[in-house]
């Protein structure tokens, strides 16, 4: 029993048993919350006094030592009583101290404590130890497993590279001198590999290989250790390595998050927007929130004349191939003119120019787009004829006005779109557009630069639900 020792011998044993705990609580990352911090501090002061007494003995030393040991034991027991509130490193290191001070509490409640365990690091990691000497691998494994790390080992550079391919490793401990692929070569190959480049490498070598160690550091090794290892230094290097790896992993996660967002945007908008508009959106993703804003756009609505009755007389597969060919061509043309497809409605296409990005020549681009779509019908119909399918004709209406443009819908199913009176007006115009005709509202015509398009005579339309007559102009073509 401890009490039978000379107080001086006993005190020295207590000091050495307390070392792991004192080292642990001295780390800045370990904070002890009030109200226990006062007890931890008192405990530390007790150790300081014991050290002082042992260094400068007094006539009353034994008496004083016993009192100090009593105080240390008291504080240690108090902390033990509040074990659940303690920092993990305290939990880990306190039992050894309690055992050394001869606390009854500890011998009753925690009889399994035999030797003082070293403080566990807050972040245990996976360490790959690469060394051709089995006793070195064993030593590293023992030292690092004791503090909670998972150690895997390789006896050659070849094996190490294989393991690195399949296992997630936080830090590599790499012996410089090995038969076959040496440490320097393993390091070089790791740095060439995109996936392994960021994994911290600590080189291990003898003192005589200092030149090569320096070369390895220059080649990207993070640190080095000289043989024979100093266990404390080994653990410090490992901890630093793990910290670096964690930091890098967090950065990587962040980057992936950004990429996921980008993929989301492309998926959500890719069908409706031309690529460069998606790119512009990606630069300002805050614009992707639900809701919309008022903006002036030029609206295009097109459909295939008489498609419904046409479809009734065709097998469904023919209807689908007819539509797909038509939409494919038209979509390309609309994107070429930087329009945004709002919706495909049966055989109709609803597109806007000016949302999500507004440009000064939105109306002009819309009219050019309509003309290109009309011209493209020749190509579409040639393909239809070749496939034994009927010839199609389309009509296109354009209108310019203010709409609410934005992400409309629910969080789960949002869609970029426009709503507003101007949309309805466009639909009415389109309903009264003739076959193969492009009809534009006066609002659109007013925004066109002079001398580019040849327009026909104005036509007044009366539409259901709209009081005033809508003035429209047919677009005949581009001015020569």
């Amino acid at each position: 029993m401890a009490e039978t020792d000379q107080p001086e011998v006993w005190a020295r044993r207590i000091l050495s048993s307390a070392e792991p705990m004192l080292a642990a609580i001295a780390r800045p990352t370990v904070t002890i919350d009030p109200p226990m911090d006062a007890d931890v501090q008192a405990l530390e002061e007790g150790f300081v006094r014991v050290r002082e007494l042992l260094a400068v003995p007094t006539p009353d030393m034994n008496h004083d030592l016993l009192n100090l040991i009593g105080a240390i034991r008291g504080y240690a027991e108090m902390l033990f009583e509040e074990m659940s509130k303690l920092h993990p490193v305290m939990k880990e290191t306190l039992p050894a101290l309690l055992a050394a001070v001869g606390s009854n509490q500890i011998t009753l409640e925690m009889p399994q404590v035999t030797e003082g365990p070293l403080p566990r690091r807050e972040a245990p990691g996976v360490i790959l130890a690469v060394d051709d000497m089995p006793e070195n691998r064993e030593l590293i494994s023992r030292l690092l497993s004791r503090v909670g790390h998972t150690v895997i080992s390789a006896e050659s550079g070849e094996e190490a590279l294989e393991l690195l391919e399949t296992r997630g490793v936080d830090v590599v401990l790499l012996d410089l001198m090995m038969p076959g692929i040496g440490g320097a070569e393993v390091l070089r190959r790791m740095k060439e590999n995109e996936d392994l480049r960021a994994t911290p490498v600590v080189m291990i070598s003898g003192r005589q290989d200092m030149d090569q160690i320096i070369a390895c550091i220059q080649a990207g090794a993070d640190d080095y250790l000289l043989k024979p290892f100093n266990p404390v230094l080994l653990q410090a290097r490992i901890s630093a390595g793990i910290e670096r790896k964690r930091w890098h992993d967090r950065e990587e996660d962040y980057r992936h998050q950004l990429e996921r967002n980008e993929r989301f945007i492309r998926r959500t908008f890719g069908r409706y927007l031309s690529d460069d508009i998606v790119d512009q959106l990606l630069e300002a993703p805050e614009g992707l929130e639900l809701g919309g804003d008022l903006r002036e756009v030029t609206i295009m609505m097109s459909d295939i004349c008489g498609f419904t009755s046409l479809a009734e007389h065709l097998p469904p597969t023919d209807v689908v191939s007819l539509l797909n060919r038509y939409f494919e061509h038209m979509t390309d043309i609309i994107f070429e003119h930087e329009g945004t497809i709002d919706e495909f409605l049966g055989d109709a296409i609803l597109a806007v120019f000016g949302a999500p990005r507004r440009r000064d020549n939105d109306p002009e681009r819309a009219v050019r787009c309509a003309l290109a779509m009309r011209d493209a019908m020749d190509t579409v119909n040639a393909a239809n004829e070749a496939a034994g399918l009927p010839v199609l004709s389309q009509r296109i209406a354009l209108n310019t006005g203010t709409v609410i443009a934005g992400n409309i819908g629910s969080e789960q199913r949002a869609k970029y779109g426009c709503v507003g009176h101007a949309m309805n007006v466009t639909s009415r115009i389109e309903g009264q557009t003739d076959t193969d005709e492009i009809l534009i509202a006066a609002a659109t015509r007013d925004h066109l630069p002079d001398g580019i398009f040849i327009l026909g005579e104005p036509r007044e339309l009366l539409a259901k639900g709209i009081e005033d007559a809508i003035v429209t102009y047919p677009v005949l073509g581009l001015a020569p």
Binding site: R49, L68, G70
Partner: protein
């Protein structure tokens, strides 16, 4: 049954040990006053009438043995139970403490749950 506030007088010259015991006793719900020598201890006992005294026997100015004997001769404080604290786990010390008039005896470093039990027994007996 309402009880007057029960105070423990702790007489201990070693500061670290004294602070620690005060903290532990207070955490256990006791009210504690302290003295660092036998003479001061006797003065406090006369003035404050603590319910129990925990007395280290090895004290400056007046040691615990002497303080205990004096307390037993003083009618004012004769009935205050004293628990002797000594560093020597020997039967003769225990005998010596009881002869000096101590009601109980505990060795240092104290087994705290045991000490609390002894304090509780003395408080019960004196009520």
């Amino acid at each position: 049954m309402t009880q007057p506030v029960q105070t423990i007088l702790l007489v201990e010259d070693n500061e670290a040990n004294r602070n620690m015991l005060v903290r532990r006793l207070e955490r256990a719900g006791h009210q504690v006053t302290t003295a660092a020598d036998g003479e001061t201890a006797l003065q406090i006992m006369r003035k404050q009438q603590p319910s129990v005294v925990l007395m280290d026997m090895n004290l400056p100015i007046m040691d615990g043995w002497t303080a205990c004997r004096e307390a037993r001769l003083d009618g004012l404080i004769r009935n205050i139970p004293i628990i002797a604290l000594t560093a020597h786990a020997m039967e003769e010390d225990k005998q010596r403490a009881l002869e000096a008039g101590c009601a109980e005896y505990a060795t240092k470093p104290v087994d705290f749950p045991d000490l609390l039990a002894k304090i509780a027994a003395q408080l019960d007996a004196s009520c």
